[in-house]
């Protein structure tokens, strides 16, 4: 008799203990970046630097990237947002964007009939370390303008 009752109690306890406690995730809206009306050109990963980036552009920039034009369109505006990578909390096997590292903006302006001016700015984000090595401005400009757009359905 006792054995039966204790078996029942054990079974009941097992049932109760198998319930999971529901913690709620701590959302991090500070990792979001609002690119306004600019559209996605592509994402770029860099495991050597531990970063993950999104290149956005206005329609003229998107067209330049899409058609791989030798020279970007005048009036093209680009934004390259770079985040520090972090492991996805719920899935070992994926890395995702964490703190914003930098925001680079580039505007292609017409100087005269034949020449373009590149209006480039580099802003630092929370994940930026002053000691980090920086590329030359001219290298960054050619990096941004040489990206082909990702293929979308």
């Amino acid at each position: 008799m006792k054995a039966i009752i204790s078996l029942y109690i054990i079974a009941l306890a097992l049932f109760i203990m198998s319930c999971d406690d529901h913690n709620t995730a701590n959302l991090a809206p500070e990792y979001l970046y609002d690119a306004g009306n600019q559209k996605v050109i592509k994402s770029i990963l860099n495991n050597k630097k531990g970063t993950i980036a999104m290149l956005y552009g206005n329609d003229l920039a998107l067209q330049s990237a899409h058609d791989s034009l030798p020279k970007p369109n005048i009036g093209a505006h680009y934004t390259l947002v770079t985040w520090k990578q972090k492991p996805m909390p719920q899935w070992y096997g994926t890395n995702m964007n964490g703190e914003i590292y930098s925001i680079e903006t580039l505007k292609i302006v017409k100087r005269n009939k034949t020449e373009l001016t590149f209006d480039y700015e580099f802003q630092i984000g929370k994940g930026y370390k002053p000691a980090d090595w920086q590329s030359e401005k001219s290298q960054r400009i050619s990096f941004i303008t040489s990206q082909r757009a990702a293929i979308f359905p």
């Binding site: 070992y92 096997g93 994926t94 990702a150």
Partner: protein, 310 residues
Amino acid sequence: MKKPGLTFYRGAAIMVIVIFVGLQMISPNIENPPVTSEIAVPAEVKQILERACYDCHSNEAKVEWFDKIAPASFLVAHDIDEARSRFNFSEWDKNPTAVQELLLWEMVNAIEQEKMPLKRYTLAHSGGKVTASELAVLKQYVNTLPGRHKVDTARIVARTSVNQKASTQKTPVSLNNIPYSSDYKNWKIISVTDKFDGGSMRIVYGNDIMVKAIEKRQLPFPDGARIVKVVWGKQAEDKDGNVRPGNFQNAQFMIKDSKKYSATEGWGFAKFDGLDLKPAGKTVLFEQTCANCHRLLAPENDFVFNIPTK
């Protein structure tokens, strides 16, 4: 009110015994069907799987005497049925290779998050626990699987007139009635990922409802929230370490409607493969496969993996 006498207790005891004995008579029998195609993994990995997972996820369950006593036996039989339906190490070849890899990564994650083996199983079978060093062995193993370093070397294919036709003629609709729509191209990005376990990179979009909920730190996400994840292969790394998207692989949708999709945790799942956006899944059951993994590993995120969290 008369105090219940001895006869009452005796009656009650007899009743309990009768119920208990009756339960034993209808207690389920746990069968071990034949092993048709056993998983082939290195010995040190096999050893861990056999000890921690085989009792439920194989056709070689070692059922202890106490597992056979009702009502526990009902629970044991239920858990074994459920486990075998998710994946079965004794019928491993039933899964395509890509699914086998995904399942192995899912196992590692389930063990790491202590969702598996089930607590009720390890309480009764203390040998079923997986130690930290064993988890490290499993992690090391999944990192040797082919998907881990897959590079998309194929020529990048843009939309052809054929795809164009397919996508303008008829809107692809998933088996659970979710239509493909390209609205997401005007949405905000909620995360950017490198899914290195399968060699793909993703951009994840959220509609206004979804983005506002993240900004307000509102969980669970409200009805009307939508998420679209666009997936590409990964091109080879350049000399500076940059990895760019290769070919478009698929677009995955999640739509929050707590009533309509109550069977899948309030989310409607859909996946559209390739540039012609072929709805994924052979039967409508495909959505349970999505939901099972989201349910197991991301309950504290309202079942969404790809959201910015601390």
